[in-house]
């Protein structure tokens, strides 16, 4: 028996395409909701402008595309050898060549004019009502409200989707990978200037509904602005490859009314006053271990793992580590200042003295490590200069 390939016919091809289309449609209808296929609905004027531009350009290029390929498909249909068409022998026509050089130029100018206005508007970050510094860390975002209402508020925003959902041991929630412990909150109708920077590698901060995206570059401060025109919670993700957990550092912005914002600011101030950690107090070993475990879970677990075994060689084990079981000042200095050239960040800028003391105490007394000694915040404070 020899397999004979069927000859391809136009009708066979149509059937194949229909079958493929039907399969795709079946798959699409199988999904819980209709899959989003266009830019997210705008929540700022700039985003609305971008959507308008995109539609305008798509319309233009679709018309051009259909026009050009109408000629090609007509030639395919009418100028076939199989129907006995004889080839003409022209191969130049200066007039038409000048026309199809000049017309695209004119179309480009027509496109460029409105786009230029939007580019200029996007870049105008002057006179903001509120300024927030956003810092990219591997793999979370830090928010510092540096000017305007809410000045002084500062928090770190980390993915709150449980590991079990990511690894398929639990059903995935509605906001899978798009949920954080601390959301950025801004008031509606106020110009918010975001300063971006990063502590380790390049990240990129993006909120699609505001039409605002800016790379966060270590050692430099860049900026963007937005003015929200809708209240609600808007979600996005880091958009510059930043290492292992690039896919797991979402951005969530909650836009609220002016009154709600004022209330949120007051609440934040109260919370930060209440939990203000006293670096001069002395804590018991168990107290520190318990606090340290939480700090570890929020900051260290992605690399060093909950087992303390790490992922060698990129992310070394802490369990049985020479450094963790060695002199405490060496370990504290490493956590404070980080290790250049690796993903080990300088946590001195991210955590306070109590948190640092707690997490170091925890690692020295967890798994197989048995230091049996508490490290007090005052010791960390002394190491900072």
């Amino acid at each position: 028996m020899r397999f004979v390939w069927p000859r391809i016919t136009v009708s066979g091809l149509l059937i194949a395409m229909l079958a493929g289309g039907a399969a795709a449609a079946a798959l699409a209808s199988g999904a819980a909701e209709a899959a989003p296929w266009n830019l997210q609905p705008a929540a700022s004027k700039i985003a609305a402008d971008i959507h308008g531009l995109h539609e305008y350009v798509m319309l233009l290029v679709t018309v051009i595309f259909v026009g050009v390929f109408a000629f090609m498909f007509w030639a395919i249909y009418a100028h076939r050898k199989s129907t006995g068409h004889k080839a003409a022998h022209f191969h130049e026509n200066t007039t038409i060549e000048v026309i199809w050089t000049v017309i695209p130029l004119v179309i480009l100018v027509v496109i460029a004019w409105p786009v230029t206005k939007t580019v200029i508007a996007q870049k105008n970050t002057a006179n903001p009502d509120i300024t927030v510094k956003v810092t990219g860390y591997q793999w979370k975002w830090g928010y510092d409200y540096v000017k305007g209402e809410g000045e002084g508020i500062s928090f770190v925003s980390t993915l709150s989707t449980p590991r079990d959902q990511i690894e398929g041991r639990a059903p995935k929630g509605e906001h899978y990978l798009l949920e954080v412990d601390n959301e950025m909150v801004v008031p509606i109708g106020k110009k918010v200037r975001v300063l971006t920077t990063a502590a380790d590698v390049i990240h990129s901060w993006w909120v699609p509904v505001f039409g605002a995206k800016q790379d966060a570059i270590p050692g430099f401060i860049r900026d963007l602005w937005f003015k929200a025109e809708k209240t609600g919670t808007f979600r996005s993700q880091c958009v510059e490859l930043c290492g292992k957990d690039h896919g797991f550092m979402p951005i969530v912005v909650r836009v609220v009314s002016a009154d709600d914002y004022t209330r949120w600011v007051a609440e934040q101030k109260k919370i930060s006053a209440a939990i203000a950690d006293d670096p001069n107090k002395s804590y018991a070993l168990d107290e520190l271990k318990a606090r340290g475990e939480k700090v570890y879970a929020a900051n260290c677990v992605a690399c060093h793992q909950s087992t303390g075994k790490g992922v060698p060689p990129a992310f070394p084990a802490l369990d049985g580590s020479k450094i963790v079981n060695g002199p405490k000042s060496v370990q504290m200095a490493l956590v404070l200042n980080g290790k250049p050239g690796t993903a080990m960040a300088a946590f001195g800028t991210q955590l306070n003295d109590l948190e640092l003391a707690a997490v170091v105490t925890f690692t020295r007394n967890a798994w197989g490590n048995r230091a049996g000694e508490a490290i007090q915040p005052s010791e960390v404070k002394a190491l900072r200069k």
């Binding site: 390939w5 000859r7 795709a24 798959l27 999904a31 899959a35 989003p36 266009n38 830019l39 985003a47 402008d49 531009l53 995109h54 350009v57 050009v68 390929f69 395919i76 076939r80 199989s82 068409h85 004889k86 080839a87 003409a88 191969h91 130049e92 026509n93 038409i96 060549e97 199809w100 050089t101 496109i111 460029a112 230029t116 580019v119 959902q165 398929g168 995935k172 899978y176 990978l177 380790d200 990129s204 699609p208 605002a212 995206k213 800016q214 790379d215 570059i217 430099f220 860049r222 993700q237 958009v239 510059e240 490859l241 290492g243 690039h246 896919g247 797991f248 060689p313 050239g341 690796t342």
Partner: protein, 528 residues
């Protein structure tokens, strides 16, 4: 025709005395080296393809199923590097080796031994890339663009990759010098520049681009190496450097690189479309100037890859205008190809199908490129799947389709046998359909906000990713059919007639026997 007759008498005297594997290692014959380049690129195409399938398998549904995020990043990085430097570029150098001497009436490449070396560097470079997976920490997971300062965090695999890029660059530069010298000095009497086949023209311009930009890439990765090991701070702000400087240097190479890949593809298509339209190429002179125009513009548009790094408004606008301008010469080329088909006498053998597929899909990639060139709109699309879809329309539907067209078109000339036309058409339609299933939906995922280079994604992107993954596996499997078709043609294909394509009229078809003997044009032909 005297050159042809001479060949028959002496052909077997010049095999160099080696048989078996040593023939291939020591060969200085442009046809042997062309064959080596083409097989090498096919192997790399398979290796890079398997990596693409690992990526698509992981992305079939949300959650982490098959690979961890670190390995996923290694896959995206190596898929990109291997496809660009290992598959597409060597494939077109293979075409250049086979075709340029036969198309301009030269007996071989200008520097035959250099040619051997240019090729034999490649397997070592590829081995370094693959070996990086077995280093502590694995291959680099930094993306094919290798942005600083993430590169500083990588293990030894990064160093192997840097050395591999050095070797690949050396190979490309030597190959280009060879091509430039051959084209400028070894044309047969009467073969003036403006009589050269379009494929030769596009390679002449591509070779200039390579010589100008590959050293820039070598500089960028060398600075990365120095930042990693020698305490320099080119890309480290703490030491007075700037991470964005890396991007400027990389894309000064990277954007011309796009045309290094695209121009030879334009060249192949410019041979195939007239041949199957039985009509000369429309606007030959304007094709040459459009190609030159694209090449020159490609040097002043690099920062359109960097609209989100925070350039001043004048920077955004300059790079936007310059980039949009490329649409003009590219448009001229598309119009010329359509005008070549217009009122021709068309037939649709496999090379023509791939050329038409190229024309149709590459133009779509060009239009999504125009959308991306608009800085304001790019803010929404940068680093999303829209960009992934865009450059696969240009690289796969552009360069790869043209490479398939070239193989089917020239295979009879090279081996003297025909491929199976029915299977060839099957290969085209499967490739065409699965390509679009894979990549068209990625435009939607990108518009809706899916970032690129992520191993896991929010639930709203599931549908598009499922369709894309199904398409990718169909696309990958279809390429095994291509291998089968080529092997079948070599083993048992029908004998090719002297001129299998009646419309093909360059001198490789009109003045040389089919298959082309081992040595051709030992005495230069006279082109009238």
């Amino acid at each position: 025709m005297s050159a042809v007759l001479d060949d028959h008498g002496h052909a077997h005297d010049h095999h160099g005395g080696y048989g078996g594997i040593m023939r291939w290692i020591t060969t200085t014959n442009h046809k042997d080296i062309g064959t080596l380049y083409l097989w090498f690129s096919f192997v790399m195409f398979m290796v890079g393809g398997v990596m693409a399938l690992v990526i698509r398998a992981e992305l079939f549904e949300p959650g982490l199923q098959f690979v961890n995020p670190d390995f996923f990043n290694q896959m995206t990085t190596m898929h990109g590097l291997i496809m660009v430097f290992g598959a597409i570029m060597p494939a077109f150098v293979g075409f250049a080796n086979w075709q340029i001497p036969m198309m301009i009436g030269a007996p071989d490449m200008a520097f035959a031994r250099l040619n051997n070396w240019s090729f034999w560097i490649l397997p070592f470079a590829a081995s370094l890339l693959v070996l990086s997976f077995f280093m502590p920490g694995g291959a680099p997971g930094v993306g094919w663009t290798m942005y600083a300062p993430l590169t500083v965090q990588m293990g030894m695999g990064m160093d192997l990759t840097i050395f591999a890029v050095h070797l690949l660059g050396m190979s490309s530069i030597m190959g280009s010098i060879n091509i430039l010298t051959t084209i400028l000095n070894m044309r047969a009497p009467g073969m003036t520049l403006m009589r050269m086949p379009m494929f030769v023209w596009t390679w002449l311009i591509t070779a200039y681009l390579l010589v100008a930009t590959m050293p820039v890439l070598a500089g960028a990765v060398t600075m990365t190496l120095a930042d990693r090991h020698f305490g320099t701070s080119f890309f480290n702000a703490a030491g007075g450097g700037d991470p964005v400087l890396y991007q400027h240097i990389f894309w000064f190479f990277g954007h011309p690189e796009v045309y290094i890949i695209a121009l030879p593809a334009f060249g192949v298509v410019s041979q195939v479309i007239p041949a199957f339209s039985r009509k000369p190429l429309f606007g030959y002179a304007s094709m040459v100037s459009a190609t030159t125009g694209i090449a020159i513009l490609s040097f002043i548009v690099w920062a359109h890859h960097m609209y989100t790094v925070g350039m001043p408004v004048t920077g955004q606008l300059f790079f936007m205008y310059a980039t949009a301008l490329i649409a003009v010469p590219t448009g001229v080329k598309v119009f010329n190809w359509v005008a070549t088909m217009w009122k021709g006498s068309l037939s649709f053998e496999t090379p023509m199908l791939f050329a038409i597929g190229f024309l149709f899909l590459f133009t779509m990639g060009g239009f999504s490129g125009l959308v991306l060139s608009l800085a304001a709109v790019d803010i929404q699309l940068h680093d999303t799947y829209y960009v992934v879809a865009h450059f696969h329309y240009v690289m796969v539907a552009g360069a790869l389709f043209a490479a398939f067209a070239g193989v089917y078109f020239w295979l009879p000339k090279w081996i003297g046998r025909m491929y199976d036309e029915t299977l060839g058409q099957w290969h085209f339609w499967l490739t065409m359909i699965f390509f679009n299933v894979t990549f068209f939906v990625q435009h939607f995922a990108g518009l809706a906000g899916m970032p690129r280079r992520i191993p896991d994604y929010p639930l709203m992107f599931e549908t598009w990713n499922k369709i894309s993954s199904i398409g990718a596996f169909g696309f990958g499997l279809s390429q095994l059919l291509f291998l089968y078709i080529v092997l079948k043609a070599i083993r048992s294909g029908e004998r090719a007639p002297q001129r299998p394509w009646e419309g093909a009229d360059s001198i490789d078809w009109t003045m040389l026997p089919t298959p082309a003997p081992y040595h051709t044009f030992e005495t230069p032909p006279l082109i009238k």
